[in-house]
Symmetry: C2
Subunit: 375 residues, 2 copies
């Protein structure tokens, strides 16, 4: 992983290559069969597509099979899913999957327009509503429907900022309290600055290989026990209920089944907290709390690193940072470090099973990965 | 397939849904597991990403797994490859793969900038060279290196226009001769208007299922005997030789091996003739002629529908049309119709094995599919 920063001054390929080389070096891998690149906004912001061939060339790996996979903010998670299927197909053996996003160096209207590519340009974006505006509607509805206060929800970014203090790759390494969230500048009512993830550049990468080969590359390999992708309607207005993400339920239910585990078996969780309320909703939609009861886990300290359900232990989207198309791979890389017992100061003691949830658009696409320590 | 037209007045999702519904109806399929969408330029031209969820919603299939796959002009072919691996993984059974591009309704500079997203924005596009300009360099080098005349190469678009007369979906249904090509307006020396594919809107879709299920959906199913993707350096300037596409050789050699066939076994061929010289080079790089001898096949009429190697029997990129990210799926749909003996006036008599070559960028990515009649 590269550190997430705003104003990295680095190109898409410089970012990607940094993460990819680190992954290949760590695995001791030279030859690979294919490269999967997750990215959302390069066509719009950098006027650059064809990232598969671009990254293969930048890595000196031209010749291999190459792919760009896009699913808005879930691009990273969905790219990993595509790479997993490539392995299972038997056609590829050693796969590099990485994701990259460069969001800094553009005006706020440019980035805002870019983010709204995740929603329906013609029917929704054209009305002038922004991505944070849509998420603000969810926050308002959630607070109203379940009688939850902003104070309660604000515990989520507070937790993420606390965890990020120990993560050298985190964008925001600054302790904040609930009052800091409530008093930060209003972005889209009720969401305030510290309810929202920031704008950042970053890349993360993984090397995947069949299970029976994994020991060759790693003393403490991690199995991808389940990899699923599910969708919902593209737009929020098309759903009967906006305070739950059906795609999260679909993807996670299938993943639990494939991995043969239950939510209570999860030792480390990474959720897509692009906005504070989404972190809380994820706890519910993934089966860790009843609807409306997500904040109780925060009240009781269960999401802390030493709690029952350590969540976003490296800082999550809020504080590690959210280079949108790349975040899904950051999550999985972080979980892998947890399960390898290589998470340094972020380590969750004795973690054996991890779950990552990556969300594209306003819950329109959700990728879920369940990882398991093999040792 | 939708007819390829310039100025369809239809949105991305209208185009995609038209093709996808036709594919699902024809297969008699209601429930699907996933949707793979090939597309190159929607982020840049339509400011719309997240086409997976967009198309699932437009089709009333929200819930399924969804993906956008991008590899410049090879996006369609590469999307089919990703879908094939999804089937082989065993995680998905019935897969809809389609591709769409909407290029009309924009200024020429906009579309030209969009196409150059296939090359390196920072190091190549920034110099001012255009996509057609780079292909013109290839044409000049090819003619010089092998002593081939423009007259000889011009036979390729002449063949395509002739074949397109019988294809109701073709963009250019107009017979032309070699002199028409040579006297058409100069675009980028030596390439003239009729050497170049046009700007068009279009979508094509396929339904894929495991072989043992295929009979349920089709009396004359077609097997995907091989599906490969290979890359080369992103940029032309990075290659020692520009008159051959190594990625074509890599992808096709692996495909021949996977399918257990030789070039001479191919009964119907679809090549990526975005520019006339690329059609000729493809004949060589795919193993049908020695280097520099591609035009001999045209001289001898072997690429005609009743020849030894019927090529671009529906009109190819030049005359059927080239909605860039979608063309790779058009090719495979057309080959499937040939092998099902449902190609109408375009039918190649007794075709059993087909090969499609889809090129992304200036030969930077090549997808090859070999199809075989199962009956």
């Amino acid at each position: 992983m590269t550190p997430v920063t705003s104003g990295s001054g680095r190109t898409l390929s410089e970012l990607f290559v940094t993460a990819a080389k680190q992954a290949l070096d760590e695995a001791g891998v030279g030859e690979i069969d294919s490269i999967y690149v997750g990215n959302m906004m390069s066509g719009f912001l950098q006027k650059q597509e064809h990232l598969g061939a671009l990254m293969a060339t930048a890595l000196g790996q031209e010749g291999v099979s190459t792919y760009k996979v896009e699913a808005a903010c879930a691009s990273g998670g969905v790219a990993v899913n595509a790479a997993v299927k490539a392995l299972l197909s038997g056609l590829e053996e050693i796969v590099l999957v990485g994701a990259v996003e460069k969001m800094s160096g553009y005006t706020t209207p440019e980035v805002t327009t870019g983010l709204m590519m995740a929603e329906d340009r013609m029917k929704v974006a054209s009305t002038g509503v922004t991505f944070v505006g849509l998420n603000a509607m969810i926050a308002r509805a959630y607070m109203h429907e379940y009688g939850i206060t902003h104070e309660s929800i604000a515990q989520f970014p507070v937790l993420c900022h606390k965890n990020a203090l120990d993560n050298p790759n985190a964008q925001f390494r600054k302790k904040i309290g609930v009052q800091d969230v409530l008093q930060s500048p209003l972005v889209a009512d009720p969401l305030r600055l510290f309810d929202c993830s920031g704008i950042g550049d970053g890349a993360a990468a993984l090397v995947l290989a069949p299970k029976d080969m994994a020991k060759k590359f790693n003393d403490s390999p991690v199995e991808i026990a389940a990899s699923t992708v599910a969708s919902d309607t593209l737009s929020l207005y098309q759903r009967p209920k906006i305070t739950t993400f059906e795609a999260s339920k679909r993807a996670s239910n299938r993943a639990y089944k494939l991995a043969g585990i239950k939510p209570e078996d999860v030792d480390a969780l990474e959720v897509h907290d692009a906005f504070s309320v989404l972190g809380v909703m994820a706890l519910e939609d993934l089966g860790f709390a009843e609807k409306g009861a997500g904040t109780h886990l925060l009240d009781e300290g269960e999401c802390e690193r030493d709690g029952r359900l350590p969540t976003n232990s490296f800082g999550g989207l809020k504080a590690r940072g959210h280079p949108v198309g790349a975040s899904g791979v950051y999550q999985i890389a972080e979980l892998a470090m947890q399960l390898e017992n290589k998470a340094g100061k972020c380590q969750v003691s004795g973690a054996r099973i991890g779950l990552a949830q990556s969300v594209g658009g306003i819950g329109s696409t959700v990728a879920v990965h369940i990882l398991r320590a093999m040792n």
